[in-house]
């Protein structure tokens, strides 16, 4: 554990924890709004910001934040007003960003080699100044994602309803993509611009396998994000691999493991649905017309109920009894 005493490792681990928390937090909203690949596109756009910084000699991180946020807000407004023809407009913007970044970097005389620290991350070379920017922006993203969780959930779950209760829907939508852009740029030194989207999406998908509840799945996704980011950082130091790549590989491994675990959980949850308390005495109220024959695997939820099985559908619990069904 002597590596913990190394200053660059401490900085790397802190940056990894912040990225591991922020990326799945904002990613939860993107996945919900079917914008899973937005992070990837924004990563391409941020390359233009980095290229511009290399050419002008400005600090890459703040400039990339500005370029990426401006692009993200523009995309969201274009989407809302229906001015982009599907994916084509976005594709042009994203690949334009990537090529502009590469061009600007080569014009700066530093070659495209310098860019790779941003494209694939360079976690172990983060300096103290960058760490402060990463920490500050990470806190902003987390406060927004957790503090406004009920509002952002309402807006992304049911936009018309959110409008009818007076929520500022457009403001929230723009804020989500703007903060996704911030997260992308914050993560570019840790996992890199080309891989950041994985950390925004994969832990969310893993959590969705395992837990019920929007809030709970966001928190679990953040835990998986931190696990992958910290594991990848330590592993890349030990085995001398690229940290960004290892972080993403660990995320995907956790996702793969969540499949069998979710199957087990589903099996354990089914009997847990049994209503043990507040159980009314078994009634002998006959159902009305009931042409459907309930049986194991008939598609209706089966619940153990005092020594027999109730089948639940449409708000009824039906129990087979001497050739008819009772309402339970």
């Amino acid at each position: 554990m002597e590596w913990l005493a190394l200053e660059f490792m401490q900085r790397a681990l802190l940056a990894a924890v912040i990225t591991g928390l922020a990326a799945p937090a904002i990613g939860t909203y993107l996945v919900q709004r079917r914008l899973s690949l937005l992070g990837d596109g924004l990563g391409h756009l941020a390359v233009a910001g980095v290229g511009l910084a290399l050419l002008t000699g400005a600090a890459p991180l703040p400039l990339a934040v500005v370029v990426c946020v401006a692009g993200a807000v523009g995309i969201e407004l274009l989407r809302e007003f229906g001015r982009t023809s599907g994916d084509v407009g976005l594709a042009i913007l994203f690949y334009g960003g990537l090529s502009a970044g590469l061009l600007l970097a080569s014009l700066s005389g530093q070659g495209t080699g310098t860019l790779s620290a941003y494209l694939f991350g360079s976690l172990l070379t983060i300096n103290a100044g960058e760490l402060w920017v990463i920490a500050g922006l990470g806190v902003v993203v987390l406060v927004f994602c957790l503090g406004l969780l009920p509002q952002l959930f309402a807006v992304s779950a049911d936009e018309p309803f959110a409008r009818t209760i007076g929520l500022p829907v457009r403001l929230y939508n723009v804020a989500v993509v703007a903060l996704a852009a911030v997260t992308v740029t914050v993560s570019m030194r840790t996992v890199g611009l080309l891989l950041v989207s994985a950390l925004m999406v994969v832990p969310v998908a893993t959590a969705n396998h395992l837990v019920i509840g929007f809030r709970r799945s966001m928190l679990v996704a953040m835990a998986f994000g931190v696990l992958a980011a910290v594991g990848g950082t330590i592993g890349s130091f030990q085995f001398d691999t690229a940290p960004g790549a290892l972080i993403v590989v660990i995320s995907i491994a956790l996702f793969a493991l969540s499949w069998p675990v979710s199957e087990l959980l589903a099996r354990r949850r089914a009997p847990a649905l049994e209503l043990v308390d507040d159980q009314p005495p078994l009634s002998h109220e006959l159902t009305e017309e009931h042409p459907h024959l309930h049986s194991e695997g008939c598609g209706h939820l089966a619940v153990q109920h005092g020594g027999h099985v109730d089948y639940i559908h449409d708000g009824h619990r039906h129990a087979a009894h001497e050739g008819h069904y009772d309402e339970h």
């Binding site: 779950a157 018309p160 309803f161 009818t164 209760i165 837990v211 449409d314 708000g315 009824h316």
Partner: protein, 250 residues
Amino acid sequence: MSSPDSPAITADHVDVVLSGVPIVRQATFEIGPGESVAVTGNNGSGKTTLMRALLGLVPHRGTIRLFGTELGRFAQWRRIGYVPQRSSILVQQATAREVVATGRLGLRRPLWPASSTDRRAVGEALAAVGLSDRAGAPFVRLSGGQQQRVLIARALAGEADLMVWDEPLAGVDQATQGVLAGVLRELREHGRTVVMVLHEPGPLEPLIDRAITLVDGRVVADGPFLASAGGHEIHEIPHAQAHHTGLEVV
């Protein structure tokens, strides 16, 4: 200006045109506080579009006022409880309780945690629709009738003065219909205004004061709810004739 006696809804010569097609034409009516009003008419008669226009979800021409305030300047959205025709919620992992809790957001300040009052209101709304035991279940796995009940509970949680329900009975089982009748009775007792799009009044029939009937986007009848009118298909009649015959639209 808004005053306690202002009508809940005023529609004055309201037109809605969507993609060049007139959907609602010259709709004019007023709904007073505490009224339970059914909006009836055949499929495609413009009922849902009219409801969406009243809530500012589609653009309109003419004048709409909510509680006496012009729609464009209306800001008291927490007084409105909207139940859409069917759920568009596809969030895999959201629980019924989380969906219902969004109904409180009009009353909550951003960045503040839910108060005990908020939590109690959500619990009571779930109990009112008989879903307390399903509160923790994923919304998308509930049956159609249960999802409809969750959407009603979401509107109830906001303690709105004006409920706008779009086809609350469409495709729901009898148990849910009975639950909705109970909810409507309770709302009436508390003096709330309820406007609902209905095809078949079912068990809600005795609880409806008045029916507004649309044919081809026009209001052709507006008056006391007649049991005979509610349960039958409304045949298109020339609207001039409808004005003459008043309520005899059966």
